[in-house]
């Protein structure tokens, strides 16, 4: 029987080189190591031998079995190991195009979030409004030169005089009437002007109106609102300067300047070497306007402000031409 074992081992060593795939290997396993395989078969015979022979042959059997198992394991490792893959890691890959939100959308969202943190609700209004909403309700009577400050696009209409809102302030009285006091609201939106366009002027742009009425509204708080807003928006603390101005619907009326974000107040071309940038119009709401909404002007005060969103974005991202925003030029859109 020893000869038998020897020949099995020999055969296994001989066929080993013919095994090229896992199927061949499986056949090999079944033939030699399987439940009904050659070794099993011989083992049964060995078990029945007398004790002394059994001992001697058993040792040899174990040797042969181990050898064949080794052959099997080695072949298995070889056949199962990964095929060699060629890939140059310098391959540039494919460009995956992502979509882009318009920079103004992104900016408005950011602005809305900042104001939300300090208690401002958000309202949206109509773009086409009445003469009363845009002018009369804001203390701007007809045939008054103060209306020239807002070059208006008028709508052809039979009855009431209608126009494209020249400022988001057009919603002030409506909001004052509809909301409970105290209130804090921002109104972002498109506004329209009859204006020749150039790199700094557009006939259509975005404005953000801020409106707050309550017993505690005063100039200190207004300055605080600006301080917080600009710090959050531009990412740095900026000096805020109020200057005297005139708007018919605010009194006192203010022009708001911030320290130039480009030169940090040192003076540069953008701020015309003044160190400051004009950034907003603001003021305490004129009693005339509060009275339009039947608000007690002895008890309540309010402030309002208007920010030009394009201007803020142009400053923040160093955009030189306001016309880019509505150009539809994807080379612009995809930068942000």
């Amino acid at each position: 029987m020893k000869e038998e074992l020897e020949s099995i081992l020999k055969e296994a060593q001989e066929v080993k080189d013919n095994i090229k795939n896992l199927q061949d290997l499986e056949n090999f396993r079944i033939k030699f190591l399987g439940k009904k395989g050659l070794l099993k078969n011989i083992l049964e015979k060995i078990v029945n031998l007398p004790e002394n022979e059994k001992k001697e042959l058993g040792a040899y059997f174990n040797f042969v079995k181990e050898e064949i198992e080794n052959i099997y394991e080695e072949l298995k490792r070889k056949l199962e190991s990964k095929p060699f893959i060629k890939f140059d890691l310098h391959h540039p890959g494919k460009k995956i195009e992502k979509g882009h939100l318009h920079i103004l959308s992104q900016a408005i969202d950011r602005i809305v979030n900042i104001f939300s943190k300090i208690g401002f609700d958000l309202e949206l209004g109509k773009e086409i409004v009445t003469e009363y909403e845009n002018f009369d309700s804001l203390n701007m009577p007809k045939d008054h030169p103060s209306r020239d400050m807002w070059d208006t696009l008028w709508i052809k209409s039979e009855k009431e005089k209608l126009l494209l809102r020249t400022h988001t302030s057009a919603h002030q009285v409506e909001i004052l009437k509809n909301r409970n006091l105290p209130l804090k609201v921002i109104i972002p939106g498109k506004v329209y002007r009859h204006e020749a366009t150039d790199s700094r002027h557009e006939m259509q742009f975005h404005q953000l109106e801020g409106l707050a009425v309550g017993e505690s509204c005063n100039l200190q708080e207004l300055k605080g609102v600006f301080y917080i807003f600009f710090e959050e928006f531009f990412g740095k603390k900026l000096d805020i300067v109020f200057r005297t101005s005139y708007f018919p619907f605010t009194e006192p009326s203010l022009e708001v300047d911030i320290e130039c974000i480009l030169c940090n107040g040192k003076g540069c071309e953008v701020c015309k070497y003044s160190g400051y940038l004009e950034i907003a119009g603001a003021g305490m709401i004129h009693p005339f306007v509060l009275k339009q909404a039947l608000i007690d002007t002895n008890k309540y005060y309010g402030y309002a402000f208007g920010l030009g969103i394009e201007r803020l974005v142009m400053l923040k991202y160093n955009i030189p031409d306001v016309r880019l925003f509505h150009s539809g030029d994807l080379r612009f859109i995809k930068q942000f």
């Binding site: 979509g99 959308s105 200190q220 605080g224």
Partner: protein
């Protein structure tokens, strides 16, 4: 407005440090630039009456710096004849708010001396002759436009202030004829128009070098009338500019007297006794100012003495004072100071905004979310995620745009919203749809220096559109998606895929599309988008080739436009957990040939009906038309996913359902299995 430093310095007792003055003016009064011996001052519209002249600005500077003003001293002798012996004045309109006049005889008109010519030049005016130049000099110094008439040219020496007659003609100094609008005020004699009040004199009574006897008019006209008339005639003058912004009667009278003095001095005129005055001067206003008001506006208290000092500096005089309020008289030329709030602003601006500290805003409540805004934000982000680019376009279209889509337009609106005074013809109408502008954007981007390597453009925009419906303006917010590529199949299938994507992100299974019943010239393929309940959400269309050509776009363009408010109805922000299936799915594909006119929607619905709840999902993966199929046939292929929430489905069960499906589709649509 320009001011020569020299002219301001003449009025002040001490030469100021101009850098300091500019700084003060900028913060507390008006935007000012100092340049080559000039101040360029942007006088605010409400302050024009008092500060829009040399004397007024000097007063402002005096109030800011504390430098005193020199009193303006002048005098002249009157001759022993009364003005009323030479002129008769009748006022027939209430739109003339006040009227003063003087008669001066035997003037010697001549070219102006050098100092006067230089003065006028500095203020941007041309020198005409001594009399005219002196009156302009006074206008710039006092802010009151005066007018000199040649008395000998006035018929019957009678001046009539009246409203213009219908279609009355006014011939300007430049001999241009103007047909006067209703409501315009004219100065006339019994025969002819002598001046268009507040705007310009007429040729008929013009002062020339030969003029001997003159009448000086110093008047105040209703600013609204001047504003309207000068705009209607498109005739803006130095005078109209000032009258529109109001002129005080005190300055007007002071100017008249000063001009009389100058003519007496420089043109050797004999000034007749007294002046004509239509009405008494306005009484000085009195305002009560509560100190607390100032504190409330500021947010903190300041020294009451400081308040009193500021009021005095701007020329107010004290009537009464208590610990709670101060009661003052307002200087006559300060037309802008009418009520308490006006004084609050005066005190605060001169006190200084730089002394206002920063206070953290009081937050009364957590701001509520604006649903519309939130929804639009979600939509935008969803579209961005699948690679669409957001653009913003102008809210206007032109005539050609409207004509190209006029029939389609009429399905939505009755009339377009037309701008009366468009910036240009390109922006004549408020847009009724967004997609028209997107065709232009596509044209632009495809053309721009050939920068796009692939001709694929995927855009979206959410914005306002509108039109007239039942004599009312309707504004809507719409979502517009625009897709273009040279590959038509890609355009169509990507369009549908994006629609499905939006439906899914809204939480809808899908949108349904109904092709238009009427052929549309504007679109080669068109359908309305709606929900299962037939609520129209918008439309999808492949824009007609010929129309695209008009916009120089040569590749297919698919557009989708949907109303945001309609979409929002289906949006559910709250999400609830759905059980993750625990039983395995069985997949089957089915590929069928159907008549061309049968829509995939209908087939899908039929399949769902047969399979009931066991069909988890159906996905169309191929539509094919062309050989070897017949002309009016198409083949459609779907992946079907079967699954039961309660048990493991068997192959047999699914085979059975598949057979039922095929049977039903054969019966209903006569399909052939591929």
């Amino acid at each position: 407005m320009k001011f020569r430093l020299k002219d301001l310095e003449e009025l002040l007792t001490k030469k100021p440090n101009w850098r300091t003055v500019v700084n003060l003016l900028n913060k507390k009064s008006f935007e000012t630039i100092l340049e080559n011996q000039y101040l360029e001052v942007d006088i605010l519209p409400n302050r024009f009456a008092d500060a829009g002249n040399i004397l007024g600005l000097a007063k402002e500077i005096s109030a800011l710096t504390g430098i005193k003003l020199k009193p303006l001293k002048f005098n002249f002798k009157e001759i022993n004849k009364k003005y009323s012996d030479f002129v008769k004045i009748e006022c027939k309109t209430y739109k003339c708010l006040n009227y003063f006049g003087r008669v001066i005889l035997d003037v010697k008109n001549s070219p102006s001396p050098k100092w006067l010519q230089e003065f006028l030049e500095s203020y941007g005016l041309n020198s005409v002759n001594l009399l005219v130049d002196l009156s302009n000099y006074v206008m710039i110094k006092f802010g009151a436009p005066l007018h000199i008439f040649d008395l000998d040219k006035i018929e019957k020496q009678t001046i009539i202030i009246r409203e213009a007659k219908d279609k009355e003609i006014f011939t300007s100094l430049k001999e241009i004829d103007y047909k006067l609008p209703k409501g315009a005020i004219v100065i006339s004699d019994p025969k002819k128009v002598l001046a268009l009040a507040g705007i310009q004199g007429a040729k008929s009574a013009e002062v020339t070098l030969d003029t001997k006897n003159i009448f000086i008019e110093a008047a105040i006209f209703d600013p609204a009338i001047i504003y309207r008339t000068s705009r209607e005639l498109n005739l803006q003058t130095e005078a109209s500019y000032r009258f529109e912004r109001r002129v005080s009667d005190i300055n007007t009278l002071r100017a008249l007297e000063y001009l009389a003095y100058l003519i007496y001095k420089f043109a050797k005129g004999k000034v007749t006794k007294k002046y004509f005055q239509l009405k008494p001067l306005e009484k000085p206003k009195k305002i009560l100012l509560r100190y607390q008001k100032i504190f409330d506006y500021l947010g903190f208290e300041i020294d009451k003495k400081e308040i009193d000092r500021i009021l005095k500096a701007i020329g107010c005089s004290l009537i009464k004072k208590t610990s709670n309020y101060i009661y003052v008289t307002i200087p006559l030329e300060r037309l802008d100071l009418i009520e308490e709030i006006d004084l609050v602003e005066e005190v605060i601006r001169i006190f200084g905004y730089d002394k206002v500290k920063i206070k953290f805003p009081t937050v009364h409540k957590i701001p509520s979310l604006n649903e519309n805004y939130q929804f639009v934000n979600v939509l935008k982000k969803d579209l961005k995620e699948i690679g669409l680019n957001e653009v913003l376009t102008y809210n206007f279209i032109d005539d050609e745009d409207l004509n190209n889509f006029i029939r389609f337009f009429k399905e939505f609106y009755q009339e377009p919203i037309e701008i009366l005074n468009p910036v240009s013809n390109l922006y004549r109408y408020y847009r009724p749809f967004i997609f028209i502008n997107h065709i232009k954007v596509i044209n632009k981007n495809l053309g721009l220096y050939n920068w796009l390597r692939t001709k694929n453009i995927y855009l979206f925009e959410i914005g306002r559109v509108g039109g007239w419906i039942n004599k009312k303006i309707t504004e809507r917010d719409v979502l517009c998606i625009t897709i273009t590529s040279v590959d038509l199949d890609k355009v169509l299938i990507d369009g549908k895929s994006i629609l499905n994507y939006i439906a899914n992100s809204l939480g809808l299974k899908k949108f349904h599309i109904t092709p238009s019943k009427y052929p549309k010239d504007e679109f080669d393929i068109f359908g309305y988008i709606h929900t299962e309940e037939e609520n129209i959400l918008g439309f999808i269309g492949l824009i007609n080739k010929n129309i695209l050509k008009k916009y120089n776009v040569e590749q297919p363009v698919l557009i989708i436009e949907m109303q945001v408010s309609n979409l929002m109805k289906y949006y559910k922000e709250e999400k609830f957990y759905q059980h993750i299936p625990i039983y395995p799915a069985i997949f089957r594909d089915i590929s069928i040939i159907v008549p061309e006119y049968i829509q995939s929607d209908i087939i899908e619905n039929e399949i769902y009906e047969v399979a009931k709840d066991l069909l988890e999902d159906i996905e169309l993966f191929d539509i094919y038309q062309g050989p070897p199929l017949k002309e009016n046939e198409k083949s459609i292929a779907y992946h079907l996913i079967f699954r039961s929430p309660e048990r493991t489905l068997t192959e047999e069960e699914v085979n059975n359902i598949m057979q039922q499906i095929i049977k039903r589709l054969k019966e209903k649509f006569g399909i052939i299995l591929r």
